[in-house]
């Protein structure tokens, strides 16, 4: 989201507690509660999907049935009852919209409250937006501009109809259906998400972005995003989400697959502030996401940049598989956990091609009673001679009731590669705080300044539009943690 001053002020006006906490009263069309083969068929039918996709979903569903909820992360939560969730819910007033004028005015009001008036988008410096509202894409702007370049940016449900060969070729190629429990679930019941295709030699002229919002009680979000960058292309994609206040935990199990060909570059940025639950950990979103990038081509590059401040539980490892020789994978992350949040996040860099390079910079901030774990894996396979990895993971602890944990795995199978890993744990020193206080900054300002300084290396990787919002977000999410 491009955050103008006006937007930020508008957002500030809303109450002190979770700023985006409210519900839209739109009648939603729901599938019956629970999950079974019929629900999968229902979803596929609703979207009028071709048979091959239904078969694919059913295969995933059957695979999911054989799998068990994984328990290895350092997070604690009650077992999810999948029969108690709505897997499909769409607003009745349905889209086939070409222009913003056709968007439901109720919806427009919703987005205004969120502080991102759609109308504003048109005036802003070229950010195309694909709005996702409770499992169905509502509006896509700037499509014409992109179409001129041959760039496809549309909801995945549309891509299935209009570009079936592309979808068929790549979906599940980075994250196979049986990869993990939540990926299998997503493959069976995903309802929508973005599809991006950048043709050879094209540099996408604008940042692409999308919103998510979980609204319906008990509905999970199962977004599926697929981004394909052909030879010599470039795209920067921003993902930012907000969610309303809810009492029940809501599951978010998205899957993001990125494919980069020779010399292509994909930059994927996320600012995530899902409802984190109240001070005691009640409510809040479960964010169990599988994200992976395939650096297929030579000298391809995939960068993941994320600022995670929300969710009750975050469980995600955006990863890169570096197949092409000289390909590059990057992971920059700031993960904030406050009050009773729990985060077990990190990345995997799998080096397969020669002379591949990966950089991991992870900054974890824990406050309140939160637990923040960095889990990373760097694997240098035998074929990956001459490869390099540098990992820096730092943890900042605010207060003495939280925890910060680091669990890195380094597996190296070739002598000519070099892996370097550094991790530090610290707190905001009294000296630093006092120095800032003596210069007239109050405790909140001082903390925000020092914490942002701690995260600087990551923040500077974010597209400018996100960087400002991200900094504010970090400050807001740490409110009340110091002093």
């Amino acid at each position: 989201m491009v955050a103008t001053q006006e937007t930020i002020d508008k957002v500030k006006e809303v109450s002190q507690s979770y700023k985006y906490g409210f519900v839209t009263n739109l009648e939603a069309e729901k599938a019956p509660l629970g999950l079974n083969e019929d629900i999968v068929k229902f979803i596929s039918k609703k979207k009028k999907e071709p048979n091959w996709l239904l078969e694919w979903r059913l295969k995933a569903y059957k695979k999911w049935l054989t799998m068990k909820q994984p328990k290895w992360a350092m997070v604690d939560f009650p077992e999810i009852n999948f029969q108690d969730i709505y897997f499909y819910s769409a607003p009745k007033t349905k889209p086939k919209l070409n222009s913003l004028d056709e968007v439901d005015p109720e919806l427009l009001k919703t987005y205004e409250k969120l502080g991102i008036p759609i109308k504003e988008q048109e005036m802003l410096a070229g950010v195309a937006v694909d709005y996702v509202f409770d499992s169905v894409s509502v509006a896509t702007t700037f499509r014409e501009k992109l179409e001129k370049e041959g760039i496809i940016f549309c909801p995945i449900s549309e891509a299935v109809h209009n570009y079936p060969e592309l979808v068929k070729k790549y979906i599940g190629s980075v994250i196979p259906v049986g990869d993990n429990y939540y990926a299998a679930l997503n493959s069976a019941v995903f309802t929508d998400g973005s599809f991006v295709y950048i043709p050879k030699g094209v540099r996408c002229p604008m940042e692409l972005s999308t919103y998510f919002r979980i609204n319906e009680q008990n509905s999970g979000q199962f977004e599926r995003t697929l981004i394909i960058a052909e030879d010599d292309s470039y795209v920067s994609y921003l993902e930012g989400c907000t969610a309303p206040q809810r009492d029940e935990n809501q599951l978010h199990a998205a899957v993001v697959e990125l494919i980069a060909m020779d010399n292509a570059e994909i930059k994927y940025s996320t600012v995530q502030n899902w409802y984190p639950g109240d001070k005691d950990g009640k409510g809040g979103i479960y964010n169990f996401v599988t994200k992976r990038g395939n650096c297929l081509g030579k000298r391809s590059k995939i960068s993941w940049t994320q600022v995670e401040t929300g969710s009750a539980i975050t469980w995600k490892y955006p990863s890169c598989v570096l197949r092409g020789d000289e390909s590059v994978g990057e992971f920059y992350s700031v993960a904030v956990a406050n009050n009773a949040q729990q985060a077990d996040t990190g990345t995997k860099m799998i080096h397969i091609g020669k002379n591949t390079k990966s950089t991991i910079i992870s900054k974890g901030i824990s406050a309140g009673k939160a637990q923040n774990t960095y889990r990373g894996q760097v694997q240098i396979q035998k074929s990956a001679s001459g490869s390099r990895n540098f990992t820096q993971c730092d943890s900042l602890l605010i207060g003495d009731k939280c925890g910060a944990h680091t669990v890195p795995y380094i597996n190296q199978f070739t002598p000519s590669a070099r892996v370097e890993h550094e991790a530090t744990t610290s707190k905001i020193s009294e000296d630093q705080l006092f120095y800032c206080l003596q210069r007239g900054l109050d405790t909140e300002q001082a903390t925000s300044l020092i914490v942002n300084g701690f995260c600087k290396e990551v923040m500077k990787e974010l597209p400018m539009e996100f960087a400002v919002e991200a900094q504010k977000l970090i400050g807001i999410s740490l409110e009340g943690s110091v002093g």
Partner: protein, 250 residues
């Protein structure tokens, strides 16, 4: 009414009494020097005045322009116009010098009801003051104090003083670790700020700094109390006879 009034202050650290009844009156336009051997309580006095946690008064009062500082937090005191130039300025990794300065200056301005600087306006102002202190643009882009030499750190402290325009500045051993050139620059920076409305308290245990920042009054602090006060010639006496002589005589 004096600008800064320290009345019979007692302070304990780890159950040991460090300040044993320190009193001092500093009026507008004055420069006071506090000298004393190691362990006399000089740094404790400066932390106490600045309001550092853990350095609360047992008994006594401190007033800035008649307002009691005892109840104010460190940042409130700073915004009210109290400045402490640290002996060992701490590093703030990732916190850019320019943004740090702007936040501090704007906090003070907001408190005073003055208009806050916007980004560009501030940069102009900062560069102006920085050049006087021989602080290059490049240094302002770096993180606060990270990798700064001793001299660079002290110059940056005095630059902050110049930009915040405090009522009372306390310079805690500003001369420690400085070579002659750095000392000159820092002293010139301090002297340039002396005026009829503010006051400066220079804490040092070497007389040398006082050749450059000439004080109006000199006080000797020993074992938590001021044992002798006088004019600038008292500093020369210390130089000649050492502290021991004065302490024994007191």
């Amino acid at each position: 009414m004096s600008l800064l009034e320290i009345k019979n202050t007692h302070l304990k650290l780890d159950n040991k009494e460090i300040l044993k009844g320190v009193s001092l009156s500093v009026n507008k336009g004055e420069v006071h020097a506090i000298m004393g051997p190691n362990g006399s309580g000089k740094s404790t006095l400066s932390y106490m005045l600045a309001g550092r946690e853990g350095y609360e008064l047992e008994t006594g009062e401190i007033l800035l322009e008649g307002n009691p500082l005892n109840e104010m937090s460190a940042d409130e005191r700073a915004r009210s116009g109290l400045f402490l130039a640290f002996q060992y300025p701490v590093e703030l990794p990732g916190v850019g010098g320019m943004s740090f300065l702007r936040e501090a200056v704007n906090s003070r301005r907001k408190f005073l009801g003055e208009e806050e600087f916007d980004h560009l306006g501030f940069v102009k102002e900062a560069r102006k003051e920085a050049s006087k202190m021989f602080v290059k643009d490049e240094m302002l882009k770096r993180a606060v104090n990270v990798g700064f030499s001793g001299g660079e750190k002290k110059r940056f402290e005095i630059l902050q003083m110049a930009m915040l325009k405090p009522k009372v500045s306390i310079l805690d051993e500003t001369d420690s670790g400085l070579d002659v050139d750095a000392l000159k620059i820092v002293s010139e920076g301090v002297n340039a700020q002396r005026n009829k409305e503010n006051a400066i308290v220079v804490i040092t245990h070497y007389q040398r700094l006082l050749d450059y920042i000439v004080p109006d009054f000199v006080h000797i602090l020993s074992d938590g109390a001021i044992i002798k006060s006088g004019g600038p010639e008292l500093a020369l006496e210390v130089e000649k006879n050492g502290y021991a002589g004065l302490i024994n005589a007191a």
